[in-house]
Amino acid sequence: MSGTAVGPGTVSALQAALAAEHAAVYGYGVAGAYLDGPARTAATADWYAHQVARDTLEAMLRQAGAKPVAAAPAYQLPHKVNGPVSATALAVLLENRVTAAYLGVVAVSDPAVRQFGARAMAAAAGRAASWRGRTVAFPGFPPSAFS
Protein backbone atom coordinates (compact mmCIF):
# COMPACT_ATOMS: atom_id res chain seq x y z
CA MET A 1 0.00 0.00 0.00
CA SER A 2 1.61 3.27 -1.04
CA GLY A 3 1.50 6.29 1.21
CA THR A 4 0.21 8.52 -1.54
CA ALA A 5 -2.72 6.66 -3.04
CA VAL A 6 -4.75 5.81 0.03
CA GLY A 7 -8.17 7.42 0.21
CA PRO A 8 -10.02 8.49 3.33
CA GLY A 9 -12.33 5.50 3.03
CA THR A 10 -9.39 3.12 3.24
CA VAL A 11 -7.91 4.91 6.21
CA SER A 12 -11.27 4.93 7.96
CA ALA A 13 -11.76 1.20 7.38
CA LEU A 14 -8.26 0.39 8.61
CA GLN A 15 -8.79 2.55 11.69
CA ALA A 16 -12.00 0.67 12.46
CA ALA A 17 -10.19 -2.64 12.11
CA LEU A 18 -7.40 -1.36 14.35
CA ALA A 19 -9.92 -0.30 16.99
CA ALA A 20 -11.41 -3.80 16.89
CA GLU A 21 -7.94 -5.32 17.24
CA HIS A 22 -7.17 -3.11 20.23
CA ALA A 23 -10.39 -4.29 21.85
CA ALA A 24 -9.54 -7.91 21.06
CA VAL A 25 -6.10 -7.60 22.63
CA TYR A 26 -7.70 -6.22 25.76
CA GLY A 27 -10.53 -8.74 25.75
CA TYR A 28 -8.31 -11.78 25.36
CA GLY A 29 -6.32 -10.55 28.31
CA VAL A 30 -9.49 -10.82 30.37
CA ALA A 31 -10.77 -14.05 28.81
CA GLY A 32 -7.45 -15.83 29.15
CA ALA A 33 -7.44 -15.28 32.88
CA TYR A 34 -10.55 -17.47 33.21
CA LEU A 35 -9.39 -20.29 30.95
CA ASP A 36 -7.23 -23.31 31.66
CA GLY A 37 -5.35 -25.95 29.75
CA PRO A 38 -5.77 -26.06 25.96
CA ALA A 39 -8.31 -23.25 26.05
CA ARG A 40 -5.84 -20.99 27.77
CA THR A 41 -3.15 -21.97 25.30
CA ALA A 42 -5.53 -21.13 22.45
CA ALA A 43 -6.45 -17.81 24.04
CA THR A 44 -2.79 -16.93 24.39
CA ALA A 45 -2.12 -17.77 20.75
CA ASP A 46 -5.09 -15.69 19.67
CA TRP A 47 -4.01 -12.83 21.91
CA TYR A 48 -0.64 -12.81 20.15
CA ALA A 49 -2.33 -13.03 16.76
CA HIS A 50 -4.31 -9.90 17.52
CA GLN A 51 -1.18 -8.09 18.67
CA VAL A 52 0.48 -8.93 15.36
CA ALA A 53 -2.60 -7.76 13.46
CA ARG A 54 -2.66 -4.57 15.48
CA ASP A 55 0.97 -3.87 14.68
CA THR A 56 0.37 -4.57 11.00
CA LEU A 57 -2.56 -2.18 10.85
CA GLU A 58 -0.61 0.51 12.65
CA ALA A 59 2.20 0.16 10.14
CA MET A 60 -0.24 0.34 7.22
CA LEU A 61 -1.84 3.46 8.60
CA ARG A 62 1.49 5.16 9.23
CA GLN A 63 2.55 4.29 5.70
CA ALA A 64 -0.66 5.90 4.50
CA GLY A 65 0.23 9.06 6.39
CA ALA A 66 -2.42 8.58 9.06
CA LYS A 67 -2.06 8.48 12.82
CA PRO A 68 -3.21 5.08 14.08
CA VAL A 69 -6.07 5.19 16.54
CA ALA A 70 -4.85 4.45 20.07
CA ALA A 71 -6.16 1.76 22.36
CA ALA A 72 -8.55 2.86 25.06
CA PRO A 73 -7.24 2.62 28.63
CA ALA A 74 -10.02 0.15 29.37
CA TYR A 75 -13.01 -1.36 27.62
CA GLN A 76 -16.54 -2.01 28.74
CA LEU A 77 -17.00 -5.75 28.45
CA PRO A 78 -20.24 -6.84 26.78
CA HIS A 79 -21.03 -9.18 29.63
CA LYS A 80 -19.63 -10.23 32.95
CA VAL A 81 -16.69 -12.61 32.62
CA ASN A 82 -16.28 -14.86 35.61
CA GLY A 83 -15.54 -18.32 34.29
CA PRO A 84 -14.71 -20.46 31.28
CA VAL A 85 -18.16 -20.24 29.70
CA SER A 86 -18.38 -16.46 29.76
CA ALA A 87 -14.70 -16.19 28.78
CA THR A 88 -15.32 -18.37 25.75
CA ALA A 89 -18.39 -16.33 24.85
CA LEU A 90 -16.25 -13.21 25.06
CA ALA A 91 -13.68 -14.70 22.70
CA VAL A 92 -16.43 -15.50 20.19
CA LEU A 93 -17.79 -12.00 20.42
CA LEU A 94 -14.37 -10.42 20.03
CA GLU A 95 -13.67 -12.46 16.92
CA ASN A 96 -17.08 -11.67 15.48
CA ARG A 97 -16.43 -7.97 15.91
CA VAL A 98 -12.97 -8.21 14.39
CA THR A 99 -14.37 -10.16 11.44
CA ALA A 100 -17.05 -7.51 10.92
CA ALA A 101 -14.45 -4.75 11.07
CA TYR A 102 -12.40 -6.41 8.35
CA LEU A 103 -15.56 -6.75 6.28
CA GLY A 104 -15.37 -2.96 6.06
CA VAL A 105 -11.77 -3.21 4.88
CA VAL A 106 -12.86 -5.56 2.08
CA ALA A 107 -15.15 -2.83 0.74
CA VAL A 108 -12.35 -0.35 -0.02
CA SER A 109 -11.23 0.23 -3.59
CA ASP A 110 -7.54 -0.64 -3.18
CA PRO A 111 -7.23 -4.27 -4.39
CA ALA A 112 -4.29 -5.06 -2.13
CA VAL A 113 -6.10 -3.75 0.92
CA ARG A 114 -9.17 -5.75 -0.06
CA GLN A 115 -7.11 -8.91 -0.18
CA PHE A 116 -5.55 -8.07 3.16
CA GLY A 117 -8.99 -7.54 4.68
CA ALA A 118 -10.31 -10.79 3.26
CA ARG A 119 -7.39 -12.80 4.65
CA ALA A 120 -7.78 -11.17 8.04
CA MET A 121 -11.50 -12.00 7.92
CA ALA A 122 -10.71 -15.64 7.26
CA ALA A 123 -8.28 -15.75 10.17
CA ALA A 124 -10.76 -14.18 12.57
CA ALA A 125 -13.60 -16.37 11.30
CA GLY A 126 -11.44 -19.42 11.93
CA ARG A 127 -10.72 -18.38 15.49
CA ALA A 128 -14.41 -17.58 16.05
CA ALA A 129 -15.45 -21.00 14.75
CA SER A 130 -12.92 -22.66 17.00
CA TRP A 131 -14.25 -20.90 20.10
CA ARG A 132 -17.88 -21.27 19.04
CA GLY A 133 -17.52 -24.92 18.17
CA ARG A 134 -19.27 -24.54 14.84
CA THR A 135 -18.99 -22.64 11.61
CA VAL A 136 -21.31 -20.01 10.16
CA ALA A 137 -22.26 -19.37 6.54
CA PHE A 138 -21.49 -15.67 6.42
CA PRO A 139 -18.74 -14.59 8.82
CA GLY A 140 -18.65 -10.86 9.39
CA PHE A 141 -22.31 -10.30 8.59
CA PRO A 142 -25.02 -10.21 11.25
CA PRO A 143 -26.97 -13.47 11.39
CA SER A 144 -30.05 -11.73 10.03
CA ALA A 145 -28.28 -10.28 6.97
CA PHE A 146 -29.42 -12.90 4.50
CA SER A 147 -32.48 -14.38 6.11
Binding site: A107, Q115, A137, F138, F141
Partner: protein, 174 residues
Amino acid sequence: MADRTRRGVLAAAASLPLLAVSGCKGVGALAPPPRPGPDVRVLRAAIAAEEAMIARYGTAITRFPGLAKTLAGLRAEHRLHLAELRTRLVIPPGSPYRSGFTSPSPRPAGSPGAAAALPAGQAAALDFLQTAEDSAAAALLRGLPAVPPSLAQLLASVAASESTHVAVLRSAAG
Protein backbone atom coordinates in the same frame (compact mmCIF):
# COMPACT_ATOMS: atom_id res chain seq x y z
CA MET B 1 -28.97 -3.50 1.18
CA ALA B 2 -26.91 -1.93 -1.57
CA ASP B 3 -27.13 -5.18 -3.47
CA ARG B 4 -30.86 -4.89 -3.85
CA THR B 5 -30.19 -1.57 -5.48
CA ARG B 6 -27.51 -3.08 -7.61
CA ARG B 7 -29.85 -5.80 -8.80
CA GLY B 8 -32.36 -3.15 -9.69
CA VAL B 9 -29.76 -1.26 -11.64
CA LEU B 10 -28.66 -4.36 -13.49
CA ALA B 11 -32.21 -5.24 -14.40
CA ALA B 12 -33.00 -1.69 -15.42
CA ALA B 13 -29.87 -1.39 -17.52
CA ALA B 14 -30.75 -4.60 -19.30
CA SER B 15 -34.17 -3.29 -20.23
CA LEU B 16 -33.05 0.15 -21.42
CA PRO B 17 -32.13 -0.80 -24.99
CA LEU B 18 -35.48 -2.49 -25.44
CA LEU B 19 -37.34 0.57 -24.26
CA ALA B 20 -35.28 2.84 -26.45
CA VAL B 21 -36.17 1.07 -29.66
CA SER B 22 -39.63 -0.23 -28.91
CA GLY B 23 -42.02 1.00 -31.57
CA CYS B 24 -39.16 1.78 -33.91
CA LYS B 25 -37.31 -1.07 -35.53
CA GLY B 26 -38.09 -3.91 -33.20
CA VAL B 27 -35.85 -6.11 -31.16
CA GLY B 28 -34.19 -7.54 -34.26
CA ALA B 29 -32.56 -4.20 -34.95
CA LEU B 30 -30.75 -4.20 -31.65
CA ALA B 31 -27.02 -4.56 -31.54
CA PRO B 32 -25.81 -7.51 -29.50
CA PRO B 33 -25.86 -6.75 -25.82
CA PRO B 34 -22.52 -5.97 -24.24
CA ARG B 35 -20.52 -8.90 -23.00
CA PRO B 36 -20.83 -9.59 -19.29
CA GLY B 37 -18.37 -7.59 -17.24
CA PRO B 38 -15.63 -9.09 -15.11
CA ASP B 39 -17.82 -8.92 -12.03
CA VAL B 40 -20.41 -11.12 -13.74
CA ARG B 41 -17.74 -13.62 -14.71
CA VAL B 42 -16.47 -13.74 -11.13
CA LEU B 43 -19.98 -14.22 -9.85
CA ARG B 44 -20.74 -16.98 -12.34
CA ALA B 45 -17.54 -18.76 -11.37
CA ALA B 46 -18.45 -18.46 -7.69
CA ILE B 47 -21.89 -19.91 -8.35
CA ALA B 48 -20.43 -22.80 -10.34
CA ALA B 49 -17.90 -23.47 -7.57
CA GLU B 50 -20.64 -23.61 -4.95
CA GLU B 51 -22.66 -26.03 -7.06
CA ALA B 52 -19.61 -28.24 -7.44
CA MET B 53 -18.94 -28.17 -3.68
CA ILE B 54 -22.55 -29.08 -2.91
CA ALA B 55 -22.36 -31.98 -5.33
CA ARG B 56 -19.12 -33.22 -3.76
CA TYR B 57 -20.62 -33.09 -0.29
CA GLY B 58 -23.68 -34.92 -1.59
CA THR B 59 -21.51 -37.74 -2.83
CA ALA B 60 -19.49 -37.80 0.40
CA ILE B 61 -22.58 -37.88 2.60
CA THR B 62 -23.95 -40.84 0.69
CA ARG B 63 -20.68 -42.69 0.77
CA PHE B 64 -19.65 -41.99 4.38
CA PRO B 65 -22.78 -42.06 6.58
CA GLY B 66 -20.68 -41.88 9.72
CA LEU B 67 -19.68 -38.35 8.72
CA ALA B 68 -23.11 -37.37 7.43
CA LYS B 69 -23.94 -34.96 10.24
CA THR B 70 -20.70 -33.04 9.94
CA LEU B 71 -20.71 -32.97 6.17
CA ALA B 72 -24.40 -32.06 5.94
CA GLY B 73 -23.75 -29.04 8.12
CA LEU B 74 -21.03 -27.83 5.79
CA ARG B 75 -23.16 -28.54 2.74
CA ALA B 76 -25.99 -26.51 4.28
CA GLU B 77 -23.68 -23.52 4.47
CA HIS B 78 -22.69 -23.98 0.85
CA ARG B 79 -26.36 -24.01 -0.06
CA LEU B 80 -26.78 -20.69 1.72
CA HIS B 81 -23.76 -19.34 -0.15
CA LEU B 82 -25.22 -20.48 -3.44
CA ALA B 83 -28.64 -19.01 -2.73
CA GLU B 84 -27.18 -15.62 -1.87
CA LEU B 85 -24.78 -15.58 -4.80
CA ARG B 86 -27.64 -16.37 -7.17
CA THR B 87 -29.60 -13.37 -5.96
CA ARG B 88 -26.73 -11.11 -7.01
CA LEU B 89 -26.88 -12.12 -10.66
CA VAL B 90 -29.61 -11.01 -13.00
CA ILE B 91 -29.29 -11.89 -16.67
CA PRO B 92 -32.22 -10.99 -18.91
CA PRO B 93 -34.08 -13.91 -20.49
CA GLY B 94 -33.00 -14.33 -24.09
CA SER B 95 -29.55 -12.91 -23.55
CA PRO B 96 -26.99 -14.86 -25.60
CA TYR B 97 -24.76 -14.77 -22.53
CA ARG B 98 -27.31 -16.70 -20.54
CA SER B 99 -26.22 -19.98 -22.08
CA GLY B 100 -24.18 -22.07 -19.73
CA PHE B 101 -25.43 -20.02 -16.84
CA THR B 102 -27.13 -21.68 -13.95
CA SER B 103 -30.59 -20.27 -13.46
CA PRO B 104 -30.79 -17.83 -10.59
CA SER B 105 -34.16 -19.27 -9.68
CA PRO B 106 -33.98 -21.65 -6.76
CA ARG B 107 -33.60 -25.30 -7.64
CA PRO B 108 -32.38 -28.27 -5.65
CA ALA B 109 -28.62 -28.16 -5.47
CA GLY B 110 -26.58 -31.22 -4.81
CA SER B 111 -29.43 -33.34 -6.07
CA PRO B 112 -28.81 -36.91 -7.23
CA GLY B 113 -28.22 -35.69 -10.75
CA ALA B 114 -25.29 -33.68 -9.54
CA ALA B 115 -23.09 -36.55 -8.35
CA ALA B 116 -19.47 -35.57 -8.14
CA ALA B 117 -16.25 -37.50 -8.40
CA LEU B 118 -14.59 -38.12 -5.08
CA PRO B 119 -11.69 -40.37 -4.03
CA ALA B 120 -12.87 -43.75 -2.81
CA GLY B 121 -11.50 -43.89 0.72
CA GLN B 122 -12.79 -41.73 3.55
CA ALA B 123 -9.42 -40.21 4.40
CA ALA B 124 -8.68 -39.41 0.78
CA ALA B 125 -12.17 -37.95 0.30
CA LEU B 126 -11.80 -35.69 3.31
CA ASP B 127 -8.41 -34.59 2.06
CA PHE B 128 -9.93 -33.92 -1.35
CA LEU B 129 -12.71 -31.83 0.20
CA GLN B 130 -10.18 -29.81 2.19
CA THR B 131 -8.25 -29.04 -0.95
CA ALA B 132 -11.45 -28.16 -2.79
CA GLU B 133 -12.54 -25.78 -0.02
CA ASP B 134 -9.11 -24.18 0.03
CA SER B 135 -9.11 -23.76 -3.73
CA ALA B 136 -12.63 -22.32 -3.75
CA ALA B 137 -11.72 -19.77 -1.09
CA ALA B 138 -8.56 -18.78 -2.95
CA ALA B 139 -10.49 -18.33 -6.20
CA LEU B 140 -12.95 -16.03 -4.46
CA LEU B 141 -10.12 -13.89 -3.13
CA ARG B 142 -8.61 -13.65 -6.61
CA GLY B 143 -11.91 -12.29 -7.87
CA LEU B 144 -12.18 -9.51 -5.31
CA PRO B 145 -10.53 -6.74 -7.37
CA ALA B 146 -13.04 -7.22 -10.21
CA VAL B 147 -16.24 -6.76 -8.26
CA PRO B 148 -18.07 -3.86 -6.59
CA PRO B 149 -17.64 -3.38 -2.84
CA SER B 150 -20.80 -5.08 -1.65
CA LEU B 151 -20.14 -8.17 -3.74
CA ALA B 152 -16.53 -8.16 -2.56
CA GLN B 153 -17.82 -8.33 0.99
CA LEU B 154 -20.05 -11.28 0.18
CA LEU B 155 -17.26 -13.13 -1.63
CA ALA B 156 -14.84 -12.48 1.23
CA SER B 157 -17.38 -13.74 3.73
CA VAL B 158 -18.02 -16.89 1.70
CA ALA B 159 -14.26 -17.42 1.38
CA ALA B 160 -13.88 -17.03 5.14
CA SER B 161 -16.64 -19.55 5.71
CA GLU B 162 -14.97 -22.01 3.37
CA SER B 163 -11.69 -21.54 5.19
CA THR B 164 -13.39 -22.58 8.41
CA HIS B 165 -14.69 -25.69 6.66
CA VAL B 166 -11.12 -26.79 6.07
CA ALA B 167 -10.54 -26.95 9.82
CA VAL B 168 -13.73 -28.94 10.36
CA LEU B 169 -12.73 -31.44 7.68
CA ARG B 170 -9.24 -31.73 9.11
CA SER B 171 -10.73 -32.46 12.52
CA ALA B 172 -13.10 -35.03 11.02
CA ALA B 173 -10.15 -36.73 9.36
CA GLY B 174 -8.62 -37.16 12.81
